[in-house]
């Protein structure tokens, strides 16, 4: 090759590279294909839509902190378990990468005018892994099973808040199981009758408790039906192997109606009960996905792996709740004290210095990311921290506390390094700014829950994650009647607005109004809203980073060649 030809060739190559570099995916395809013959030996085919070269090995391996509670849709009660069930089974509706509802077993649905009757039209090609068709009757069976006192589903409460006719009565043993307001009109039409109008009802059928169950299998094997050798499921994957506290394997279900469009062949989940160990194994390429990273390490990981580290909003709130009953300190009955304590907390220090994981500071209970929720401009959120601090000093002095009469109370949290760091920061802020003496107490998880539930606390940590993407899943907690209202806050106006919201076409104005009341009454101190701090290998594509409920479907993922 002469020098001239060499230069020409180099120019051609570099211009080709340049073209690829600045073109979009469409234009990049020919270039990819041109390279393909050489690469094809090691890698698989290309993605049908994006044209990316797929990895030959489509195994998605992820980490579980703890073994899951169950693979039974009506029994499962933990988040990790719901990941498994969501891949093994398919409900009426699914979510897409942004969290919007998309067809699952139901192709479409209609709501009655009063939003009290929902009719789901099921697809005719949905099959169980043994070849049986998935029918409306399977849903009726599953939903009856979920409320049946004999099943004793821990998630029966979810069926209760779905407001299905007779649901609560069946759970209480006061009505027969078959009186549940769900009916198979024919094999492919499911009709649900509700006691209240619930505009967000379709969002609730994304929940794993509402997934169908295969009656014949459950009747044949009883409690053993979820063992890999017996299990029949209707999702994109079936359970191939399950060793408790070690690993599980799920493989493609050839009977799944959309199997042709599924790319991930196998899902492996491995239990590692230690976060740091899991991180090491992620770095050693043993995991494709880590659900969370150890507290405080997010920033350094982001620097080390900028493209693999994600912080995305999550439907959860971290807060402290005042005990407003007689067993709580008298000082907490005074709204000025509650406001002062809340104002004096510099949330940005907690989120920016301690957590360092992109969590938003919270001034309202409901996260901003909640669908349809308008964050009210509550006064203390718009002030600067210096203004808040000044106001806090003023309020506490008005309430009669000062250097000669310092406010003292106990704050309670469950044993954990990260809760301890936050509690330390809070008590230091109070001490420095207000002269308040807060004693920190920590308790092991179950003890903590019992004590908090029995109002044996003064100020206690709390956290809540939404069950569905709507503000009422949070605000329900602060109703007088809520079983989760550990501080026993009670405000008639909040209760009224919540009742009214149930039947409104757009209840978000009410939710905003409630948050404004909460910012005045300050029954809780919102600290921050959670974020998903996860790590995902660059080769994994299709992850629903914008789904704030964190529901992922392996059938929508794929791995590209490195």
């Amino acid at each position: 090759m002469t020098p001239f030809k060499k230069t020409l060739a180099a120019a051609l190559v570099s211009s080709a590279v340049f073209m690829v570099g600045c073109s979009n995916d469409e234009a990049a395809k020919p270039a990819e294909e041109a390279k393909a013959p050489e690469a094809e030996v090691k890698t698989g085919p290309t993605h049908p839509v994006t044209g990316e070269v797929l990895a030959a090995d489509q195994t998605f391996t992820y980490w579980d902190l703890d073994e899951v509670s169950s693979h039974d849709p009506q029994i499962v009660e933990d988040v990790a378990g719901s990941y498994r069930v969501r891949n093994l089974f398919e409900g009426l509706l699914n979510q897409d990468a942004d969290g919007n509802l998309v067809p699952g077993v139901a192709e479409s649905y209609e709501a009655s005018e009063d939003k009290k009757t929902y009719t789901f039209n099921l697809r005719k090609d949905a099959k169980w892994s043994n070849g049986d068709p998935v029918t409306a009757g399977d849903f009726v069976y599953a939903w009856q099973r979920a409320v049946d006192p004999e099943t004793a589903s821990p998630y029966a409460w979810f069926m209760e808040i779905m407001s299905i006719v007779n649901g609560a009565e069946i759970i209480a043993g006061e009505a027969p199981v078959d009186s549940l307001g769900v009916e198979a009109v024919d094999d492919y039409t499911l009709k649900v009758e509700l006691t209240d109008s619930l505009p967000y009802f379709p969002m609730m059928v994304v929940h794993t408790t509402t997934f169908p169950a295969h009656k014949a299998t459950i009747e044949e094997f009883g409690a053993d039906w979820t063992k890999p050798e017996h299990m029949v499921s209707n999702g994109a994957y079936t359970l191939a192997d399950h060793v408790v506290n070690e690993r599980s394997e799920m493989v493609r279900n050839p009977m799944y109606w959309d199997n042709d469009n599924t790319i991930i062949e196998k899902i492996v989940s491995i239990v590692v009960p230690d976060e740091n160990q899991a991180l090491i194994r992620y770095k050693a390429d043993e995991f494709d996905w880590l659900e969370t990273v150890p507290t405080g390490q997010f920033k350094s990981l982001k620097a080390e792996f900028p493209t693999e580290t994600y912080a995305t909003p999550r439907l959860c709130s971290y807060y402290y709740t005042f005990n407003m009953t007689d067993s709580g300190p008298e000082a907490f009955q005074d709204v000025r004290v509650r406001q002062a304590l809340s104002y004096a907390i510099d949330r940005d220090v907690i989120t920016g210095q301690i957590l360092q994981g992109g969590q938003p500071s919270a001034y309202t209970f409901t996260p901003e990311a909640t669908a349809g929720f308008q964050v009210p401009s509550v006064p203390y959120a718009t002030m600067t921290q210096a203004e808040r601090d000044a106001k806090a000093v003023e309020l506490l002095a008005e309430a009669g506390y000062g250097p000669e009469n310092p406010l003292k109370f106990n704050m309670l949290y469950n044993t954990s390094d990260s809760h301890k760091q936050i509690a330390t920061a809070m008590s230091q802020m109070w001490k420095a700014k207000l002269g308040v003496e807060a004693t920190m107490n920590n308790m092991e998880w179950k003890t903590f829950l019992t004590e908090r539930g029995e109002q044996n606390f003064e100020l206690a940590r709390g956290a809540w994650c939404g069950d569905y993407n709507e503000a009422s899943t949070f605000l329900d907690l602060l109703r007088t009647s809520s079983g989760y209202n550990d501080g026993k806050y009670s405000n008639a106006e909040v209760d009224r607005l919540m009742d009214e919201a149930k039947t409104m076409a757009d209840p978000n104005a009410n939710y905003t109004a409630i948050e404004q009341i909460l910012a005045e009454d300050m029954p809780i101190i919102p600290i921050y809203h959670y974020s998903f701090n996860m790590m995902l290998k660059d080769t994994v594509k299709g992850w629903p980073v914008n789904n704030i409920e964190g529901n992922w479907y392996a059938k929508d993922l794929y791995k590209v060649a490195e």
Partner: protein
């Protein structure tokens, strides 16, 4: 000898019953229960669950039913936490794993530990002795929860030789790191015990007599000195074996081996009454059996002991 063993086994029965009752009561007196969670269950739902698992009955009835289930059907009940499995399933799956890496670790600890101890004792105050001693001291101050992550950092992340965890039915590459992490501190203790007891035996009268008689060196060491020197090691091994076979929580946590160690700790934290009881009974039975075994071995090694 036979009547001794029979007597010991018979006294084990009341011991185990007391163990069951006391742990049952302790477990139930801990605040919260298996179904206490952040998301408090509505009373009706909780009542249904309690009825399903028999937790609504008075405690004496629960204990009676539990013991009856074990004696009559050998049924340790359903797990309250891992609802797809019974406690029998959990132990059947986990115990072989624990026993495999536990026994291999015990073997490694004894073989290497005794050899090191003997070499150190025979070469007292030489560089060999000092090397062995410094090795054992280092090993002793490195507990397994420090060792385990270090091993993974080295062999998995840096060198890429071994998988960071898993069991896969017990393939060798999955066993190596758990065994190193688990056996090292036991090995160090055994080496130190062996060294000091060997030194003591070597300075005793009957060894001097053997030397005076002109017995070959190796014969003195292996036939006459080693056996009595093993007695303190043996008394240490009894409880150590129980620890090796049951208490390897750290190993299960770091290497996701799926043994019963992790069930023990999680069972307590989750208030998984039936699982914690099942494992407690297993540990109890093992303790009784291994102590008996040690006592029998004692009699075999030491002619002064006769039952």
């Amino acid at each position: 000898m036979f009547s001794f063993i029979a007597k010991r086994l018979l006294t084990a029965i009341p011991t185990l019953l007391i163990l069951i009752v006391v742990s049952f009561l302790l477990m139930h007196s801990a605040p919260g229960g298996p179904f206490t969670s952040e998301r408090k269950l509505p009373p009706q739902v909780e009542a249904n669950i309690n009825a399903k698992y028999g937790l609504d009955k008075p405690l004496p009835t629960q204990i009676f039913n539990y013991v009856k289930g074990i004696v009559v059907d050998f049924d340790f009940g359903p797990s309250f936490r891992y609802k797809d499995r019974s406690v029998n399933d959990l132990i059947e799956d986990g115990f072989p794993v624990t026993i495999t890496y536990g026994l291999i670790s015990a073997l490694v600890a004894v073989l290497v530990g005794v050899s090191l101890g003997v070499v150190a004792a025979l070469n007292q105050n030489t560089w060999k002795d000092y090397t062995a001693l410094s090795f054992t001291f280092t090993a002793q101050v490195l507990p397994n929860f420090v060792m385990a992550p270090l091993l993974v950092l080295l062999f998995t992340l840096k060198l890429g030789w071994l998988p960071g965890g898993g069991w896969e039915g017990g393939k060798p590459q999955y066993i190596i790191m758990p065994v190193i992490a688990l056996s090292t501190s036991y090995m160090a203790t055994i080496a130190r015990i062996t060294r000091s007891s060997m030194l003591e035996v070597l300075n005793s009268n009957f060894i001097r007599t053997a030397k005076a008689k002109g017995l070959p060196h190796n014969r003195i060491i292996f036939k006459h000195a080693l056996k009595p020197a093993m007695l303190p090691v043996l008394s240490y091994l009894g409880p150590a074996m129980v620890g090796l076979l049951t208490g390897s929580v750290v190993i299960d946590m770091y290497f996701s081996t799926g043994g019963i160690g992790v069930l023990f700790v999680n069972g307590a934290l989750n208030r998984d009454y039936s699982t914690i009881m099942g494992i407690t009974i297993l540990v109890g039975v093992l303790t009784v059996l291994l102590n008996l075994l040690v006592d029998v071995l004692y009699a075999w090694i030491d002619p002064k002991i006769r039952y």
